[in-house]
Symmetry: C2
Subunit: 362 residues, 2 copies
C-alpha cells in the first residue's frame, strides 16, 4: 500500500529516519559508557520499546504507571517510572506490574515511601526506589542536598524496599535554543545531582543509578559523565521545536524528523486557502502550529478541533482530495491523540505499530 | 464506589447536571418547534447519543465519518456528517455505514458530489446530501448565494443522491461574550442561510433541512426561527469558556458544568505549590488553563504533558494523595484525551460510558 492511499488524518513514522535516530542515540550512549533508558512517554508503544531494547537500551522509562503496565504486559523487562506512584490503589497496581517486569519508581515524600513499603510487603516482593531530586525542573523532587540522603535512608530502612539511586531530570533546559546556555544548565543540574549523591554515599548508601537527561542535553550529558543513565524520549521522532534548537558541534540536528501527520484537503473556499481535515484532535497545538512539509510558503492555522487552514501567499496549489504532510510542533502530545503509527519506508506502508499506552494517564 | 476512591486523572460526568442540560436543550427545541440534532463531536459516546435520542433528538451530528461509523454500529439510526467526506476510500466507508443508519453528508465541491454519486451507485443505495454554505465560519462551504443553488441542482441531478437542504453553521460566534453581538452575528448568519435557501427553492428544489447553530446561539436560533434543526454539542458538559459568556435573559448560564477531571496530588515541593498528576495529556490547554473547583484562589499551570502545578497565594492546603477537581477550559478536546466517562451522582460512581469514537478523526 502507498502512503497516498491512506485515509487521513493519519500518523506516519518514516522508518529510515526513525531507525537512524535509534541507532545514533544508542551509539552516543555506548561510546560514552552511559546506560540508555529511553522514555516511553514519547511513543507509548511496545513495538518501539522493543526496537529500543534491541538497540541496546537497558530498559524503558515510563511517565505513568499505566504506561508501565502496558509495557510490562508486552514483555519489556526493565522499567523505571519517573513520576511518584501515590495511593493504595496505584501501589497495588504497581506491585502487580512488578511481578511481570523489574520496576523501579521515584519518590520524594516520606509517607509515600512508607506506603510503597507497606504495598511491597503486602505483595511479598521487593520494590526498587529512586529518590527524586529537583535539579531545576521545579516540579516533583526534594531540593538538592541533605533531604535526598534522609529519604534514601528511609527507603533503605524498609525491608521491602531497595534504594537504587537518584533521579535528576531537568526538562526545562532540553529545548534551550543556545547550546552554551543549555550546556551551562546541564552542568548546574549535574552539580546538584552529584552533590546530593555524595551526601547519600556519605550516609553509607550506594548510589548505583543517577538517571536524568533528555534529547536536548543527550550529547552534553554523555560527554560530561556523571549521570549513569540517560532518559531521552523525543529523539526517535523529533518535531519542529526540537529541530529548531542549536545542536552541539553540528550544523544540523543529530536526530531527524521522523513523525508526521498526513492530512487531506476537504475544501478550497478561496484561491489562497485550503481547508484540511486535521485540527486539534489530530495534531497538537500546545507547541505552536505544525508546518506543511511540501509547502514552506504556507501557514497552518488551527480552524477548530477537526479542521486546519493552510493559507498561501498566492494561489494555493491544492485541490479537494489532495494530501499534505504536516510536521508536528510537539511529538509527545501529537502521538497521544492517535491509536497507531503507520510505519512507512519510501512511499510504501511497511507496518502498523499500536500506541497501546495511549491515554494511559493513570 | 466513591469518587474519592478512583485512580486519577479520571474524567467525570456529574449525572444530575448532565441530565438537566439534556432536558433543557430538548425543551428549548421542542418549545420552538425546531429539531434537535446534538453534535457527537463533543462526547463521541454511543451512551450519550442514546440518552439524547431518548430525550427527543431526531438524530446526531458527527464531525467525522469515523464517529458516524461508531454510532451507526451502536444503533443510532439517524446521523448527519457535518464535514465533507472526500475520496474513494472514505466514500466506500460512508456507503457501508449508510446500510446501518440513515446518513446525510455535507458537500461544497462539484467533483466531491460526483464522487459521492459514483460511490452511492456502486453501493446500490441513495445518499442524502446537504450543501454547506459558509455563513461566517470561513472554513468549508460555498459562499451564500447562487453557488448553493448550483450545487443543489448538481446533487438533485444524480439519481443516487437526494438533496436534503443546506448546512449553515457559524461556529465563530458561539462563544462571543456579549449576547447582543452574538444575536447580531446569528441574525447575519441566518440571513445568509435563508437567502441561499430562497435561491435553491427558486431553482425548483425543496429545502427540507436548514441545519446549524450551536450551544452559544441555541436560545437565539430557537427564538429567531428559520433553522429547521439545531446542532449543539457542548451544552451537555459545558466548560470554563462557555460558562463565562453572557447568556440570553438569565444571570446564570442555562447549562451547567457537568464535566470535570479529578486530579491527584503527586508532590508538595514548596509550601505554596502542589504538583498534580494531570497535564496536557489529561486535560486540554487549547482553551486556556483549567480551574480547580475547590480552590478558587489557586492558579493551575501546565507543568508538562503529565503534570500540572497548582499555585496558591499562601500555604497550599493539600497533601500528597489529596484530590482536586479540575474544570476544563474546553470540553471537546478534553473528552478526546480519555477512553471513558465515569458517571457520578453525588459522591458515588454510577456508570461507565465508553468514549468509543475517541480518536476517530478519519
Amino acid at each position: 500500500m502507498k502512503i497516498q492511499e491512506l485515509d487521513t488524518p493519519v500518523l506516519l513514522v518514516d522508518a529510515d529516519a526513525f531507525e537512524r535516530n535509534v541507532a545514533r542515540m544508542a551509539k552516543l550512549c555506548l561510546d560514552a559508557g552511559v546506560a540508555c533508558r529511553p522514555h516511553a512517554k514519547a511513543h507509548k508503544s511496545p513495538e518501539v520499546a522493543r526496537i529500543q531494547m534491541e538497540a541496546g537500551a537497558v530498559g524503558l522509562c515510563c511517565a505513568k504507571l499505566g504506561e508501565a503496565e502496558v509495557l510490562a504486559a508486552a514483555g519489556i523487562e526493565d522499567l523505571h517510572i519517573t513520576t511518584p506512584v501515590v495511593g493504595a490503589s496505584k501501589i497495588m497496581r504497581l506491585t502487580a506490574a512488578a511481578r511481570q517486569a523489574r520496576i523501579s519508581v521515584v519518590a520524594d515524600d516520606a509517607d509515600n515511601i512508607s506506603d510503597l513499603a507497606a504495598g511491597a510487603q503486602t505483595a511479598g516482593l521487593r520494590l526498587d526506589v529512586l529518590v527524586e531530586v529537583d535539579v531545576g525542573q521545579g516540579r516533583c523532587g526534594v531540593p538538592p542536598g541533605p533531604r535526598a540522603a534522609e529519604l534514601a535512608r528511609l527507603v533503605d530502612g524498609h525491608d521491602w524496599l531497595r534504594f537504587r539511586g537518584l533521579q535528576a531530570y531537568h526538562g526545562r533546559i532540553q529545548m534551550t535554543g543556545n547550546v552554551d546556555e543549555r550546556r551551562a544548565g546541564a552542568a548546574e543540574a549535574l552539580e546538584k545531582a552529584e552533590r546530593s549523591a555524595r551526601l547519600v554515599r556519605e550516609a553509607g548508601l550506594d548510589v548505583d543509578v543517577l538517571t536524568g537527561g533528555g534529547t536536548g542535553t543527550s550529547a552534553i550529558d554523555a560527554a560530561a559523565g556523571g549521570l549513569t543513565e540517560l532518559q531521552p524520549g523525543s529523539y526517535i521522532f523529533m518535531d519542529t521545536n526540537y529541530s529548531a534548537i542549536e545542536w552541539e558541534g553540528a550544523p544540523a540536528p543529530p536526530f531527524e524528523n521522523a513523525l508526521t501527520v498526513l492530512a487531506g484537503v476537504l475544501s478550497r473556499p478561496a484561491a489562497d486557502r485550503a481547508i484540511l481535515d486535521s485540527g486539534m484532535k489530530a495534531i497538537s497545538g500546545d507547541g505552536g502550529a505544525p508546518r506543511a512539509i511540501e509547502y514552506a510558503e504556507a501557514e497552518f492555522r488551527f480552524a477548530g478541533d477537526e479542521h486546519g487552514e493552510l493559507a498561501f501567499p498566492g494561489e494555493a496549489p491544492l485541490g479537494v482530495g489532495d494530501k499534505v504532510t504536516l510536521l508536528p510542533s510537539h511529538c509527545d502530545t501529537t502521538v497521544n491523540l492517535h491509536d497507531r503509527f503507520i510505519v512507512t519506508r519510501g512511499d510504501e506502508v511497511e507496518a502498523v505499530w499500536e500506541i497501546a499506552a495511549r491515554g494511559r494517564s493513570q
